[in-house]
Structures are given as structure tokens and as C-alpha cells.
Symmetry: C2
Subunit: 79 residues, 2 copies
């Protein structure tokens, strides 16, 4: 078994209202110095050793990310 | 400016219906060998150099994660 992490973030040119809401709330709560917040998703998968990188890339592109508005990375990590 | 990544994941003992939905859909779409999927959140913050680690830890705990049901990590990355 391997552990795979897929990080999915809104593309830089896409508005991110969730992140903007957090960024707007921080100064009101006394936290200064945070100029930008972007919010995305993180998936952790438990994957059989027989699953190859090409399959993982396809899963990320078709199931976990929306390629129109999101960028994503796939990486295997030590479990 | 520094870039800070905060990863927020549901605690291991907490049910994760979003992740389970993805895990259940994968075999139906022809992707086998994925035994577990957990879905969390990833935040990317642009932070002034004056913001110390203690402040970042507090922001993560109070604004980005729900400590009752989520675990989180804070790390500075090269921007």
C-alpha cells in the first residue's frame, strides 16, 4: 500500500471567495500581515502498489479536480 | 513575504462522507485498488515576514481548522 496526496487549488486567475472571506476576517480578529488566502482541497488516498502513476493522474484529473478552474498535484508520500 | 501552507484533514476517527463518496465512485468508473479516500482542505497564505510561527499556529487553530473534528499542520514553503 502507498499513500498518495492530491492537492487541488483554484487556478490563480479564478476568484476564490472562500479564501477571500478568510483573508477579510483575519484583520477584524486582530491578525495582521496576511495579504492573501487561497482555499483548496487536499485528498489522501490509500493505494495498492499495483496502481501506476498514469492511473493516479487520471483519477486526479477526472474525479478530484475540475481542470477548468483548478490546478492539482499528485505525489506519493511515505505512509 | 513568505508562503505558508496549512493542511486540514478530518481526524482519523471522524467519518468523512465526502471521501467515502469518492472512494465508492472509483470502482464504478473502472479505477480499482484505491482502498480509502479522505478529503480535507488546503490553505495557501501570503504572509508578511513579521508574522511569527505562534501567530500562524493561532490563525490555523481558530480560523482554518475545527479542532474538535480536524487535525492540521502549518508549514512555511519556498515561494
Amino acid at each position: 500500500m502507498a499513500r498518495v496526496v492530491v492537492d487541488v487549488m483554484p487556478k490563480q486567475e479564478i476568484l476564490d471567495p472562500q479564501g477571500q472571506a478568510v483573508a477579510g476576517a483575519l484583520p477584524r480578529l486582530g491578525f495582521d500581515g496576511i495579504s492573501e488566502v487561497r482555499q483548496g482541497k487536499r485528498f489522501e488516498l490509500e493505494v495498492a502498489d499495483s496502481v501506476d502513476d498514469e492511473t493516479l493522474a487520471k483519477i486526479a484529473e477526472t474525479m478530484l479536480a475540475n481542470p477548468v478552474i483548478e490546478d492539482w498535484t499528485v505525489r506519493r508520500v511515505d505512509s
